[in-house]
């Protein structure tokens, strides 16, 4: 009996998942299958813990933490059954680089709506080099799945054996077949862009100059946090759009944001970039897939 491997994968791929699968055996482990075919039971993520909050009661605390990576945000929940992780979370002072090992969770309050989260086993504050190494590993892992999924999409009929024949590991091939059966033909360009984004994040030559001049001097940047947490001009516009459209408190729908932003002269590309940046900076989050909400 081998221990479940800890997947390194970006928040955006993880949060895109809405397929739950069961393994075999006496106490079958549960997996979340992502659109690229990662069969995730355990994850290892390193990112910026942007906030930690007790969403339970004082008597029965439930600590929620947001961990952001270059692609999006992981939601981490630790309650009474994760005493060590809960204690570690409660002591963290965000923002801080944090490593989380935990089990994948998927929650579906109603059909068509799913939330993914992490139930942590271990939480630890780390330094930036550990985070950077994690991004590199997550990129490698993503690259492998992109390549395998690319092959899978060209394969007709798609079989696990066919994938194994071209050198895909059996465990990965399984997940890919499940993913294709459930999600159909996913748009790989989106994930390729995510991979490139992740890699550029590590490279100083792609790093945008922080802030827009006026905000920069006031930003209390620590030595390690070189990126501004203040929104730039476009981001401020997008933030306003999201706040205005979020009438029922459930967040603003993507179509509406796109329409309103276009009318304000923000292109689709710039909008996507801004939304990513805002997610990164912890100024908005995605309560439901495709909806944005101001924090």
């Amino acid at each position: 009996m081998n221990r479940e491997v800890a997947w390194r994968l970006f928040a955006s791929e993880y949060n895109d998942a809405n397929l739950e699968a069961e393994g075999g055996g006496e106490r079958p482990p549960s997996y979340i299958v992502t659109p690229l075919g990662a069969r995730v039971n355990r994850v290892f993520v390193v990112g910026v813990i942007t906030d930690v909050e007790n969403v339970g009661t004082d008597g029965q605390p439930m600590w929620r933490a947001r961990v952001s990576d270059p692609s999006g945000t992981f939601h981490v929940y630790a309650g009474q059954y994760q005493p060590e992780a809960a204690a570690a979370l409660s002591k963290l002072k965000p923002p801080v680089f944090g490593a989380v090992v935990g089990k994948s969770r998927i929650y579906s309050p109603q059909p068509g709506t799913t939330y993914t989260s992490i139930r942590p086993e271990t939480v630890k504050a780390v330094d930036e080099s550990v985070r950077d190494f994690w991004i590199l590993e997550a990129c490698r892992s993503l690259r492998k799945r992109l390549d395998a999924m690319g092959e899978a999409q060209r394969m007709d009929p798609l079989t696990k054996e066919g994938l194994v024949k071209i050198g895909v590991k059996a465990a990965i091939a399984d997940g890919i077949v499940q993913a294709v059966n459930h999600y159909g033909k996913v748009d790989l360009s989106r994930y390729t862009a995510m991979l490139a984004e992740g890699l550029r994040y590590l490279l100083p030559e792609y790093r945008e100059p922080a802030g827009t001049g006026e905000a920069a001097p006031e930003t209390p940047t620590t030595a390690k946090d070189e990126r501004s947490t203040e929104p730039d001009e476009t981001e401020t516009k997008v933030l306003e759009v999201i706040a205005t459209l979020d009438k029922d408190g459930k967040g603003a729908a993507w179509e509406g944001i796109l329409e309103a932003a276009t009318s304000k002269g923000v292109s689709k590309d710039a909008l996507e970039e801004s939304i990513n940046a805002l997610l990164d900076k912890g100024l908005i989050y995605e309560p439901i897939l495709g909806r944005m909400k101001k924090i």
Binding site: R8, K124, L136
Partner: protein, 444 residues
Amino acid sequence: MREELAPHVHDITRALGNKVSEQEIERELSSYLNVYRVSLDTAKRSIVKKHGGNPATLAIGVNKTLRELLPGEQSVNLLVRIVSVNEKDVTVEGSTKRILYGILGDPSTTIPFTAWEPLPVPLAKGDVVRVQNAYTKEYRGQVQVNFGIRTAVGKAAADALPEFKPAAGQPYVGKPTPVRVVDLREGASNVAVTARILSVERREVEVDGAPKAVFSGVLADETGKSQFSAWKDFDLKGEEVVRIEGAYVKSWRGIPQISFDERATITRLKADLLPPAERLNVSPRMWIEDLADRGGGADVTVRGILIDLREGSGLVNRCPECRRVLRKGACRLHGEVKGEPDLRVKAVLDDGSGALTAVFDRELTEALLDKSLDACISAAKEAMSTDVVRDELADILVAQPIEARGNVTSDDYGLMMIVDSAKILKVDVQSEAREMLESLEGSA
């Protein structure tokens, strides 16, 4: 051959209530043994099961030498000498029970044993005994013999077991199969390997009180390295390239290793047939998923992240007799003993493809902590808890990328690496990211 099998054919037909003819059983048994080449024990059990019988009713175990034993045998017969025997009390399901444990020996090797039920005869060191229906288990990569409720033990004459005889297996039939070192798998026999001897040393082992020389070391080809044991003096020398025909593969402490004896032939080959020793002697970097497929490996290097410290890390107490780590002051085998303090780390090393348990000994742990065992003991005394040592280790190690080198063994609980050397991994993240980005943009 047929004569030897006759009692077993009879045993099978009897276990099946004589429902199937002896000819039929004999034909099937011969097919299992000669065509499918499974062990006699497996063959017998499979045939009984296939015809709807209960394999537990088989009465005649298979005679084996200790060296032939594999983990998980259900019914073996042994003729062995008691090398040592001790008594102890254990608690089984709440009640105390006296069991025997010790070491059995025959001319092939020695193996630990445990007798879980009272025996009809007292056992003493030096006794030769005939054991029927014993079973085997694996513990820490080593085969152990167990005497259970179905096991019969009887004394035999002291000269029933030759005082000393070099290990003589059954002669091989047919031509040896050529195998690359990376493809060596537990249980393979009559294989041929072409390899360079990287190191060899003579060890004296004791078999039934008589000294016996074993020549063990490491050999390698382009695909990998393996430990070896030669049970005969072939005058092997470091650096030479040899072809070994008629070797077998047996796991020793959970790692498949190549063994050969007087049945093997050694041919010396030209020294430039394989790359030089320093090229072959590198520790190959491996993914954990591949190690899991292979069932472990000798002297491999793994890069991954220590994602968790396991229980029993830090300052521990060991049993003075068997070196097991004590839990709540008691040893699993020897009960309450005065423990000897030690330092170790048992951590989960995960490389994204799989996970293994990495064990760091005292020396490595002291280096990681930059603190001696004595300093840890006084720190724990001061804090009135050993947790301080564990917490400090967790602080240093958890989430840390490391490169670890050592032997990886495999058993029911997964993979375990006994770490020889380890270092915190420093990766040039930027240059690797740049390279991947370029290849990505190049292929787009």
